[in-house]
């Protein structure tokens, strides 16, 4: 590696700003967390495997290093990275509550390492193929169109609460086969599950969140029992009845505990991330009219629309940082990490690396390597819902520009706030105005 590589935005040698950022900055700082790009750039340029003292994690900011980690899921463990975070400080009590009132403590089967992970993935994958997702498109289009029609005449709305969140919840209910009347509870359940890995809850909050998770599990268990006897065309039925044949001919299924943990994971993983992506879509349309125009011009061309979605995901990745834990001493980006080091893979930073994506801050749907972003992760843990997510965002983008015009922010851009978490960069509120098209 050369001494002064990549990122045009950063200066070489180290500027005072960069030095200050690296010395005292942290992903836990609300100001940095909301506007992290200068911090990412400073890390990429000067300290690609950067120890964030306040977070107690190494921040991995360069594309190559993230790729290296993704290709070695044994050395860089998701299981340890994830379950170490879960209810940290109160693990035993958390598990006891779920065992007592939630039908059981079900470790996250997908947040695991090979070879166990390989088996779980295989059992999930069939439900998510791009071809299956394609068949769902007409149904999802109808859901999206109905929701947009219901707000398009109002002239003003909060793009997050009135659109992105309800839309995603509606789709996930359709997908999984859940009842629409639980929509308000889903948002609460999501928050409760994510809070377990957010590292920002005290004991009282942990207990309150654990109660929510108990309610969630009881609800899911009920649904799953129904589908066991009476399968339907939905993902709960797929998972409850999932079967694969291994090479030696034995047929594998999921245990009930595993299936519960997976339905729970799908409900949460598919909810927040996609809602965040839709929020970002509105943000871009409202702040960059030329991109809104580009979308209008691309709306009847499936190839361009696909590229539009991919570039949206690259330039504003919903999931910006997920964790791993080293299971042995290992070299990475010029540093030696001990076993047990907790890492945060900064996907948003890798997507901004200028030697991989020239002029990374420009929205360019003609990039030849447009699909090389890491917004869906990579390696064996690459997002299992990615085809579904792409399709949802594509349908939303298409139906929005068909029905709404002149989308503008109703607040100054500096007033946009983000959820307090290192894992995603999610806009909290996005008041917009618009006209009907």
């Amino acid at each position: 590696m050369t001494s002064c590589p990549m990122s045009q935005e950063a200066k070489c040698p180290m500027s005072q700003e960069d030095q200050a950022l690296l010395e005292s900055g942290s992903m836990t700082d609300p100001i940095i967390s909301a506007r992290p790009r200068p911090y990412y750039a400073a890390m990429r340029e000067h300290d690609p495997v950067h120890w964030d003292e306040k977070l107690g994690m190494y921040l991995i900011s360069r594309y190559q290093d993230i790729l290296t980690i993704q290709q070695d899921p044994i050395t860089f463990s998701v299981n340890k990275g994830y379950h170490t975070q879960q209810a940290k400080g109160f693990q035993e009590e958390f598990q006891d509550i779920l065992k007592r009132d939630g039908g059981g403590y079900f470790p996250d089967a997908i947040m695991s390492d090979p070879p166990y992970h390989t088996r779980i993935r295989k059992l999930m994958e069939n439900a998510f193929t791009a071809h299956r997702v394609k068949e769902l498109e007409p149904r999802i289009t109808k859901v999206v169109a109905d929701l947009i029609d219901s707000i398009a005449d109002t002239g003003a709305a909060d793009a997050i609460h009135d659109f992105s969140v309800p839309l995603t919840i509606r789709i996930i209910c359709e997908q999984l086969g859940l009842d629409w009347d639980i929509k308000d509870r889903i948002q609460r359940w999501s928050i409760a599950v994510t809070a377990q890995i957010g590292r920002m809850q005290d004991r009282e909050q942990m207990v309150a969140h654990a109660r929510e998770i108990c309610e969630l599990q009881q609800y899911l268990i009920g649904k799953m029992k129904e589908r066991k006897d009476d399968p339907r065309e939905d993902m709960i039925s797929d998972l409850v009845h999932a079967k694969i044949q291994t090479d030696d001919g034995t047929v594998e299924t999921l245990t009930f505990e595993e299936a519960v943990s997976l339905v729970r994971a799908l409900l949460i993983a598919g909810n927040e991330t996609t809602a965040t992506a839709l929020g970002n879509l509105f943000y871009i349309l409202a702040t960059q009219p030329e991109i809104a125009q580009l979308l209008k011009d691309s709306v009847d061309d499936d190839r361009l629309l696909n590229r539009f979605v991919e570039e949206l995901l690259r330039i504003e990745p919903p999931v910006r940082g997920l964790s791993r834990m080293t299971t042995r001493e290992v070299e990475l980006g010029g540093k030696t990490l001990p076993a047990g080091a907790h890492l945060l893979l900064m996907y948003a930073s890798a997507n901004d690396q200028a030697d991989v994506f020239p002029e990374p801050r420009s929205f360019d749907i003609n990039r030849p390597n447009i699909g090389r972003h890491v917004s869906f992760g990579g390696g064996v843990h690459r997002c299992v819902g990615l085809a579904l997510a792409r399709m949802e965002i594509k349908v939303a983008a298409r139906e929005i520009v068909r029905r709404m015009d002149n989308i503008r922010l109703a607040i100054p851009v500096e007033d946009i706030t983000y959820l307090p978490t290192v894992a995603t960069q999610s806009i909290e509120r996005l008041p917009i105005t618009f006209t009907r098209r």
Binding site: Y63, F128, A130, N369, R372, R390
Partner: protein, 109 residues
Amino acid sequence: MVKVTFVEPNGTERHVSNAEEGQSLMEVGKANGIDGILADCGGACSCATCHVFVDPQWWERVGPPDEVEFAMLDMVADVAQDMSRLSCQVKINAQLDGLRVTVAPASDF
């Protein structure tokens, strides 16, 4: 059993003779540890990490990608060629005995 030759990204030729009809070409590659066949999405046609270039002589028998696969190949236009296929979408059959493909490089950066 069907024979397949994979040319790995570094040029190494790998001849395998244990491909079974009904398997996908990606599964054959994975089972034989072919370099560069990563198959992150497990054959869901949504990651393009199982990308191969079909030898021109075999193109007609293998056939072109469908619309969904084509969309995925377009995401890796940095390395895609006219005879690109995602190997998870190619089913092995007796007609493909002797098939020869080159594994696409992961990325050009």
